[in-house]
Symmetry: D2
Subunit: 367 residues, 4 copies
C-alpha cells in the first residue's frame, strides 16, 4: 500500500502531498506508523529555503512518535532491548554520527561530527521515507530508537518534541541548578522547555522574555516566575527589568532561545558579571549583530557557551526527566492545535504568524 507524505518540493514552494511506495525493509530497519510529528520553526525555515545543504524534495519532521509497523529481522532499542511490532517509540533524529572521526573521538564533540544526518532536515525524500510528515517513517539500521518511558503518553512526548532535548542540552551546558536566577530569551518551544527544565533543576527564579502573550501564558504554566513581553518593551527596558528582578545584578545564567540575532547583545547585558550566557537559538543564519566586546564580554568576565545539536544523552535524559515530572508540569499545554497531514501548510503559516505555540501533525489522522 503506498504511503502518503507531505513534501516541500523545493525552497519557497508550498507543501504538497505525495505518494511513495511502501518500503521494503533491509535487515535492521524498522517501519514506523507515525502517530505525531511536529511543525517547528526550523520547518518554516526549511520551507523558505533558509538552511544550506538541504536536499529537496524534503519530507520534514525530525522528532516523531509512532508505533512499530514492521521490523527487518531482530532490532533493538538504543540500549539493546529487542523491539516488537506494535510498540510505541520515538527515535533520535540524528543518524550516522560516525563515532570514528576526529570530532567524535578526539574532540569528543559528536554534535559537530561532519557525517551526521538528520531525519526531516538533511535526508531528502529521494532517499526514502526519512521525515515524520508521512504516514510511515523508515528507520534505517542503527537509528537510535527509544521506547516511551513508563507512564508517558505519545502526546506528552511530542509536546516535548525537538525542543525538549535541545533545551536539555542548553540547561546542561549552562549548569543551571539550585539558587540560580535564570533568564530565558524566547518563548518558542525551546524557550518554553528551557524554562520548564530550569524550574525543575531548582532554579531560584525563571524569567521568560518573549511574545505573543499566548506563549507567555504557557511559560507561566510551565514554571516561569516572571515573563516580559517584547511587544511592549525596548531592549533597555527589558535589561532594566531583569536587573530589577535580580537584585540589580542580572541573571546568573541567561539562555538565548530566540533565534533573533538582536537578542545576543541584549542577553549579554542581562547577565551578571561572571555569569553564563548560553546561545542555543541561532540555528539559522539571520545575519550579523553588533556587540561591544569591552562592555559585553571582557569587562563582564562572561562565559558564553554556544550549543549545537543534541546527542542521544540529551534525548534519553530529557525523556527520563519528563517521566519523572510527568504530573508536575503541564507538558501538553504547549500544543495549541493538531493538524492532519493535508493541513501542513496551515500549520506552517500558523507557526510563522505566531498564532500557535506548538503545532502537531497527525499523519494518520487526528483523533
Amino acid at each position: 500500500m503506498p504511503v502518503t507524505a507531505a513534501v516541500i518540493p523545493a525552497p519557497g514552494q508550498a507543501v504538497e502531498l505525495r505518494q511513495f511506495p511502501d518500503p521494503v525493509l533491509e535487515p535492521g530497519a524498522v517501519l514506523l506508523r507515525t502517530l505525531y510529528t511536529e511543525v517547528c520553526g526550523t520547518d518554516v525555515h526549511l520551507q523558505h529555503g533558509r538552511l544550506p545543504g538541504v536536499p529537496y524534495p524534503l519530507i520534514p519532521g525530525h522528532i516523531n512518535v509512532g508505533t512499530i509497523a514492521a521490523i527487518g529481522g531482530e532490532v533493538t532499542d538504543a540500549f539493546g532491548s529487542t523491539l516488537a511490532v506494535g510498540e510505541t517509540v520515538t527515535f533520535l533524529d540524528v543518524h550516522e554520527t560516525c563515532h570514528h572521526c576526529w570530532y567524535c573521538l578526539v574532540a569528543k564533540a559528536s554534535t559537530r561530527c561532519p557525517h551526521r544526518r538528520v531525519y526531516g532536515i538533511t535526508y531528502g525524500a529521494d532517499e526514502g521515507l526519512l521525515g515524520g510528515w508521512s504516514e510511515a517513517i523508515y528507520l534505517k539500521p542503527g537509528v537510535k530508537i527509544l521506547r516511551l518511558p513508563e507512564g508517558l503518553t505519545a502526546e506528552q512526548v511530542i509536546a516535548g518534541g525537538c525542543a525538549l532535548p535541545t533545551a536539555f542540552h542548553a540547561v546542561e551546558r549552562g549548569q543551571v541548578g539550585l539558587a540560580d536566577h535564570v533568564v530565558v530569551q524566547g518563548s518558542g518551544p525551546v524557550g518554553l522547555m528551557a524554562a520548564a527544565l530550569a524550574r525543575l533543576a531548582g532554579a531560584q527564579q525563571v524569567i521568560v522574555i518573549g511574545a505573543p502573550n499566548i506563549r507567555l501564558e504557557v511559560a507561566r504554566r510551565l514554571g516561569a516566575d516572571a515573563v516580559i513581553s517584547i511587544e511592549a518593551t525596548t531592549p533597555e527596558k527589558r535589561v532594566a527589568a531583569v536587573r530589577d528582578l535580580t537584585g540589580g545584578r542580572g541573571a546568573d545564567i541567561t539562555i538565548e532561545a530566540s533565534g533573533n540575532p538582536q537578542a545576543i547583545p541584549e542577553g549579554l547585558q542581562m547577565t551578571r558579571d561572571a555569569g553564563v550566557y548560553v546561545v542555543v537559538g541561532q540555528y539559522t543564519d539571520c545575519g550579523p549583530v553588533a556587540i561591544n566586546p569591552h562592555h559585553d564580554l571582557n569587562r563582564k568576565h562572561l562565559d558564553v557557551r554556544a550549543t549545537w545539536g543534541i546527542d542521544l544523552s540529551h534525548q534519553y535524559k530529557a525523556l527520563q526527566v519528563m517521566a519523572r515530572f510527568r504530573d508536575a508540569v503541564p507538558w501538553t499545554g504547549v500544543i495549541s492545535r493538531y493538524y492532519n497531514l493535508d493541513q501542513a501548510n496551515d500549520a506552517l503559516a500558523d507557526i510563522e504568524a505566531g498564532r500557535v505555540v506548538k503545532a502537531v501533525l497527525c499523519p494518520n489522522g487526528c483523533l
Copy 2:
C-alpha cells in the same frame, strides 16, 4: 626629601614631573623605592582619557618592582613572612578587593568586586604616591607584597609586568595544555606572554598574529612556532592561514589579546568547532563589532571565556612559572628600551607608535 613623580594632569594632557612630600607611613604601610615600572598600552589609554572613572591627576604605573625603603612597624609579604628594609619586591596592583561582598564570596569572582582599586589606574595622585611612575610608591596597609622568587632579577619581573599575570589568567581560563593548538591574537606584551605561557604549558603549536615585525620576532623567541603579520594580510587570509596550520580545523584555543574589536569575529572564525575562545584584550571600550551568532557561535558550539583582571593567584603563580623557566625563555627580550622618568612622554609615544615592544621606566634613573 620630596618625591618626584610623573603625572598625567588631566585627560589628553602631556605627562609632567611633579614633586610630592615624602609620605609619613601609617602602621602597616611600606615605602618602596621604585626600580622599574612599565609604560603599557593601558597607560596610553589613560593619557588619552579613554577609561571611565579614573581620578586625575594620576601617577600611572600599576605593576612595579622596588626595594623597601621604609616600613610602618612590622609588615609581612602576602603569605605572612616579615619584610625588611632593603628587600626587592613587587606587589599586586589590585587593592581593596573586599572579600566580603556578594561578588567576592557568593559568585567567587573577586576580579569583579566593586570595591577593588588599582595602583596607577583608579587611585589618583591626590590620594598619595599610588602609582609606579614615581621615585617612591606608598604601599597601603594590606597591599599584597611579593618577594621575587629566588633567582629572578628585577629586570625579569618587570619584563613580565602586568602582561604576565594577565596572560596567565587567560591561559588558565583557556585550560591550555598538552596537544592543544593555540592561536594568540595580538603581539603586545599580553599576547607575547600568553604565547610564552602556552608554550610552557605544553601546547602543540603556538601561532601569534600581530605586528609590527619587531614584535613578531620577539614572539618567535618567546616560543611561537609560527607568526602571521596583520600588515600584509586580510582577515580572510589569516583565518585561512590558521586553518592551514591546524589540519583544516582551526585552533583548539584562541586567545584574543589585541584590544581591537575587529579581532573578535576573526578569532571566532579561527577557532575550531567546539573550541575555546578567550577574550582578554578588550580592556578599553573601542566600540562595537559585528559578529554572526549563527556561524560564529551557535553552529560552532563554541566556548567564549571573557577574562577580567587578575587576583593574587595569577601574579603569584606567574612569578613561580617565570622562576621555574627562568633560563628557558628569554623573558627580558620583550624590553625594547629603558626610560628615565622625564622621558615618560617619549615612552608613551613609542608605545603608541609601535616603535617598541615594551617600554620600562626607571624612576630613580636607568643604569
Copy 3:
C-alpha cells in the same frame, strides 16, 4: 543582667549551666538574643572530647537564630545592609577565614584556611559568649550576619541548621542535577537535607540509606523516593538493592553523610562506573576502613569528592533555596523536639541514642 549558658566543662563531662557577665559590645559587634540553637551529632562528639583542638570549657551551638538585642555602633549584614535592634537573623558560624593566606587566595579553598574559627566548636567559653547554647550570643565584628529571607520563620531556619548548608555544599560538589540517580548514605540531618536538596535539584531518584525508621520516614517526607534501613540489611544487600533501583548500574552520585567509616567501601560499591562519590560525613576521626583500590576506585573510574566545611555561599544559597521551596518541603518535620537550656544533657542523650531526628534548644525558653 548576667547571661546563662550551657557549658561542656571538659571532655566527657556533663553539660552544666553557667552564668556569664553581660558582655560589653566593642564597635562592630552585635549581641543576639538566642531563639533557637541546635544539638547536633558534632555536639555529641564534643561532649565526648572526640575532636582535637577544642578549647574547653565550651558553649556549643554553631548554627543559631536570634533577635538582635544590641549593636555596637552601625553594623551591616553580610552584604552591607544596616541592621537594627529587633531583627531576626542567623550568622555564619565560621569566622576569621582570613582571605589572605595561600589557601584562601591561591588554592581558593577557604574552608581549609588555617585561621578560621567556628562558633560553638573552636571558640571556647573563656573567649566569650561564642556558642549558641546561651541566652545571648556575642557576634564579633565581621561575623557574617544573614537576615532570614522573606517568608522564612526562625523555626524553618533552625530546621535547616548546620545540616542544610553542609548538604548544599555536598550537592553542589556532586553536581547533582536533572536525570541523576542519587543515593544518600545516612539519615541524620545532613543526609536528610542532602536528600531534600537532591530532590529539589531535579534528581531522577533519591534513595536514602539509614536508620532508625523515624528518620527514614522523615526522609520520605523530605523527598526520598526510596529508603533502605541499615537495621535489617547487610552491606551486600544494600549494594544489591541500590543496583536493583538503578537499572543494575548503581547510583550516578552517592553522597556519604553517615559519619561511619564502614559506609565508604559500601558507598563506593553502590556508585556506578564513572560516577561521583561525595564524602561529607566523616567529620570526626572514627578510625580506618579497608577499601579495595582496584575494584572500588581504579576499575570504576570513579570521582571521589571529599567536602570540608562551608563558606558564606553555601549558607546564603541554602537559605535562598529554602525560601524558594518553603512550602514544597516540610522542612520543620526534621525537628523531633524542642528543649530548654537545662535539658541540654537530655538532648545530647536523645541524639546519641537516635531517639530524635533533630533536637533544637530554646535558650530563652520554648514556646
Copy 4:
C-alpha cells in the same frame, strides 16, 4: 608461511612459541609485521593468571608497532586516510568499544564500555593473531590504526608504549599544568611517562617516588626534579620529604602509578588540602588497604580521580606530544633491553625482578 607467536598457554605456565597459520584477511582487515611489542607489568600479571576473564591460551602484547604486510581491500587509518603496504603504524589496543551503549553514549565514559576488547589481554589466541608477541598481528576491521607522527621512530613509539597514553589520561584527569607541584608514585613505565608529561605540561616541580635506582635515574632524565627511593625510606619519611619539597603543604596533584595498594594512604597524605589525587596504577586486584576517611579524605577536602583505560584521544594526543617534544625528552631511555621472541620468559622475569626499566620484544628479530 606460518606465523610464530609467543603464547601463555594457561595461568602460571611459562611462555612457549607456537606456530599459527598465516591468516586470510577479511575485507577491512590489516596484517601487521610486528617490529616491536612490549613486556609490561600487566603481562607479568597475565602470566600469573591474576586478571579475571582472560581467555588462555593468550598471545600477549597490547601496544605494538609494525609495518603493514597486507591489507584486506582499502583500509584507512583512524582518521580516514588510506593506508598502504609498507607503512609503519601503531594501533589502539582497545577494540569493539561499541559507541552505542549507555556507558558510551549517556555516561560518555567509553573506557567503561562493557563491549570493549583488548589486544593481548582479553582476546585469546584461539581467536587469532590478536596480540603483539607474534611475528604478525591481525588487525580486525575497525581497529584504529595510527601512522607514526612525522619524525618519530618506531623505537620512540614503543618506548612510550602502553604507558604513555595511560599516563596521558592520568595527567589530563589531574589537570596538571603551570605552577603545579606534582608527585608521581611509582617509577615503572606509567610513572615515568607521567613524570615526563607533567614536566612537559609545565609543572612547577615533579617528584617521583619509586625504586630501584636505575628507574629513578631514568626518572631524572625524563624530567623529575626530585626522586625519593622507597627502598631506604618509610612511608612517614616519604610523606615528610614531599612536604619539605612543597613548602609544607604537600603536592597539588599526586598521581598514583605504583600498583601497590599501600601507596594509596601514603599518597593521600602527600597531597595538600583541596588537592587532587589521581589513581591510575591499580590495574590488578592486589587486595585491600586501610585508609582513614576523616584525615585522608573529608578533612582534606580532596578530589580523588580514579582513571581506567584509554581511548583513542589519549593515544593520538600522546603521540602528538611525543612528536612535539621528540628531542626535548630522551624517550628511548626507558628501554633497558630488546629481546627476541624466544626470550619472552627472560623478559618477564627481568620485569618482575625489577632488573629492567622497560623490556621490548622484537618478534621478527632484534637489529
